[in-house]
């Protein structure tokens, strides 16, 4: 056990740090609050810059344009990005989830066709997984693909698709055989979103924004060459994408949470409780300390999990701990903020008295989704029960 950086890790971090110092845009603050539709070209340009510097996909193998970074180096990458408050990358799903899945399951043709444009943000990717009747029970999905000559004909509906409105391509899970058990009749198709019969609608969420879309498919023709992996092996392909989702998602959160608690500690000097600054209120102190502690534990859990994955080579079901931990912690963090702000906590962006221009009232609402998206807390607990502890399946 040695939590000091190795010489290679230090070199990686220092190289990245000096690249970021020279290249990270200084005006992200002015763009951050704008709608994604407006800032998207900005984010695309930023990813292009990372790509040209060789930093767009550090985890990918070198032969596909990555750096073959270890999990620890990936973690350093996200820490450094968060430290300089770098903008997110435009093609985050392509880089984080879909690219790695194509590298693992794609044909040489598919890799040659898709990988470079994922890296350069020329083609933005979205993910068609959930359906109105297939959320936690993803394998029950009904969007069907019927073989017709050298094409599949796709009919159905997807929901909760991030980046659907801007996506050029979609990793779509479809049913190719309905006469076998549900997990065994699925396949994954790579779909050109400009294909006739694809319709994208915004899905307005409880925060008032539309981060997600619904996508409708009516007789959409997809060349058989765009099948990813083997026909009817789509469940394994999809699960591998979900593992990347749980593995990489948490890594960047520590500094973001740390920044939030640091800000709350700052604000605890300004907000009053019983005629004293909240920083002197015993109950507020207890709650801030609990939250601070859990943010540190979240990081230590992650570092231990990375070491375990590095030793065994595969991301395992233990990733479910991280998902439960960060999502529930984020909700507690927002609750503590609300308790400290009192009536001011509810004020939205645009009100001159809103705390930090409404990021906390927004965060309070947005974090309700954290324990639902990317696998509900209930599903994560089922995964721990069955796959980690070896209890019999409940469903």
């Amino acid at each position: 056990m040695d939590l000091n950086l190795t010489p290679e890790e230090t070199k990686f971090r220092d190289e990245l740090r000096s690249w970021l110092e020279a290249n990270v845009p200084k005006d992200w603050g002015e763009w951050r609050e704008k709608p994604l539709e407006e800032s998207f070209p900005y984010l695309r340009a930023w990813q292009r810059k990372l790509y040209e510097g060789g930093w767009a996909a550090v985890s990918w193998p070198k032969e596909y344009g990555g750096r073959g970074a270890t999990l620890m180096e990936q973690s350093l990458f996200w820490e450094e990005m968060a430290r300089v408050e770098a903008p997110p990358m435009a093609n985050s799903l392509g880089l984080g989830l879909i690219g790695p899945t194509i590298i693992a399951y794609g044909t040489d043709e598919q890799k040659k066709r898709f990988i470079p444009k994922i890296l350069s943000a020329e083609e933005i990717w979205c993910q068609g997984f959930s359906e109105p009747n297939a959320g936690s029970d993803l394998a029950a999905l009904q969007t069907e693909a019927r073989l017709d000559g050298d094409h599949y004909v796709v009919n159905g509906q997807k929901v909760w698709t991030s980046y659907g409105w801007i996506g050029n391509w979609c990793e779509l899970v479809v049913r190719t055989d309905s006469n076998v058990p549900k997990h065994k009749g699925l396949s994954v198709l790579l779909i050109d979103m400009k294909s006739p019969g694809v319709e994208v609608r915004p899905l307005k969420q409880m925060t008032g924004e539309s981060e997600f879309n619904e996508i409708f498919f009516r007789d959409v023709r997809v060349p058989v060459a765009n099948l990813l992996g083997k026909v009817n092996d789509g469940w394994n392909v999809a699960v591998s994408t979900l593992m990347y989702e749980r593995g990489s998602y948490g890594a960047r959160l520590h500094l973001i949470f740390k920044r939030a608690i640091t800000r709350l500690i700052e604000l605890s000097d300004k907000f009053q409780k019983d005629g004293h600054p909240a920083a002197q209120d015993p109950i507020t102190r207890q709650k801030l300390a609990q939250c601070y502690a859990e943010i540190e534990i979240m990081r230590w859990n992650q570092l231990r999990a990375f070491s375990r994955v590095t030793a065994t080579g595969v991301p395992g079901p233990e990733g479910s701990i991280q998902k439960i931990f960060w999502s529930e912690l984020n909700q507690r963090l927002q609750q503590i903020a609300q308790e400290m702000f009192g009536a001011y906590g509810q004020l939205l962006a645009g009100d001159k008295d809103a705390v930090d221009n409404g990021i906390w009232s927004y965060g309070y609402l947005r974090t309700r989704g954290n324990t639902i998206e990317a696998g509900t807390s209930e599903v994560q607990r089922n995964i721990i029960g069955h796959f980690v502890l070896g209890l019999p399946r409940s469903y």
Binding site: Y292, A293, Q380, L391
Partner: protein
């Protein structure tokens, strides 16, 4: 960066597990807890032979010279086996305190017999108000002697000498010193006996300053958290095993999500406590700037987690969990005594607040 155990650390942990399973199985724990002191000289001699009593102390005093992470792993396995007797009190509490505060001469005098397995010891810290804040200690030595009472002292009846924290220093008192009276306190944890000690003009040798106490306190606290982690792991293992085997409505109860989710939360709390405990041990070993705050984080989290894990474990066991025969309550009792020892979660949250929230203000004042 590598947050896994090294090969030699893993080996030490595996060996400790095998050793305790062989030398101190649950039947033995149950036998010892019914005795007056829960101390077995034969088991003690074997632990000393393994080097456990000198694990973190320098070789010049007869120790093994390993680090805090190795101590953490040993204590985790001791906690898992619920080893009764003064291993924690002697090595992780008194030994770590002497190691932190004493001169080489005093270390030679007091640590060497501990390493050799010839002496057992403990620390007398709490007084009538049961506060773990050193500022609340009232006893003070006068003319080389102590008078007053110390409470909740673990394993005092089998100690050959007792380390006493006083206002004006840290002292060693021999077991046979005149004017000292040791009486049992009936604690919930049957494997770790507690005592009240009354001093009346009892001769005491000063071995260190109170200002140096924090490091010893932090090492002992971390070792105790590691014991809790071992206890949580054992409680989880017993519970999962039971949930697979016990059938109701024609199915193993572990098939029901209400039961599975209890087990999943036990796992989450156990693993998170372990991450915090290992990090704290490493930070202490490296004298990292966040060592003290990470010790408090670990103790704060594990104090609550161990109780929660015990609550869930008993609940999943149903009626069996409420019986004397089932082992879960023995760990639950240990969890309670360890929850308050070295400060409960409320105490450590306030310590974290002091270290984190107030740090800026102190800096501003000192500038």
């Amino acid at each position: 960066m590598q947050f896994g155990l090294s090969e030699s650390q893993q080996m030490l942990k595996d060996n400790a597990r095998k050793f305790f399973a062989g030398e101190c199985p649950m039947e033995e724990v149950r036998r010892l807890m019914e005795t007056e002191t829960a101390y077995d000289p034969a088991l003690w001699a074997k632990m000393a032979e393994q080097g456990y009593t000198g694990i973190i102390f320098a070789e010049e005093y007869g120790g093994v010279g390993l680090g805090k992470v190795e101590l953490a792993l040993l204590m985790e396995e001791a906690g898992r086996a619920l080893v009764p007797g003064p291993l924690f009190s002697t090595v992780a509490f008194a030994g770590a305190m002497i190691d932190a505060v004493a001169s080489p001469e005093h270390k030679k005098k007091y640590l060497a017999p501990i390493c050799a397995g010839d002496a057992r010891s403990t620390v007398a810290f709490l007084e009538a108000d049961a506060s773990w804040n050193p500022a609340d200690i009232h006893i003070a030595a006068a003319n080389g002697a102590l008078s007053g009472a110390k409470l909740f002292v673990p394993d005092a009846a089998v100690a050959d000498f007792i380390v006493v924290i006083a206002r004006n220093g840290i002292f060693a008192v021999a077991a046979k010193a005149p004017g000292m009276r040791i009486t049992p306190m009936l604690g919930m944890d049957l494997t770790r006996k507690l005592y009240r000690i009354e001093f009346q003009n009892t001769p005491a040798e000063k071995i260190g300053d109170v200002s140096a106490l924090a490091k010893g306190f932090d090492v002992a606290t971390t070792a105790l958290v590691c014991e809790l982690v071992g206890g949580m792991q054992r409680t989880l293992d017993i519970t999962v095993e039971y949930a697979k085997m016990r059938k109701q409505f024609g199915k193993p109860i572990g098939m029901f999500q209400a039961v599975q989710h209890q087990c999943a939360d036990m796992y989450l709390e156990t693993e998170s406590s372990r991450s915090a405990a290992y990090y704290a041990a490493w930070a202490l070993e490296e004298n990292a700037p966040d060592a003290s705050v990470s010790v408090s984080i670990a103790k704060m989290y594990a104090s609550d987690a161990a109780r929660n894990v015990g609550n869930r474990g008993i609940q999943v066991h149903g009626g069996m969990g409420f019986t004397w025969e089932n082992d879960v309550h023995l760990y639950y009792r240990r969890a309670k005594s360890s929850e308050t020892a070295f400060g409960d979660s409320t105490f450590h949250r306030e310590r974290i607040a002091w270290l984190v929230i107030d740090a800026d203000e102190r800096l501003a004042k000192s500038a």
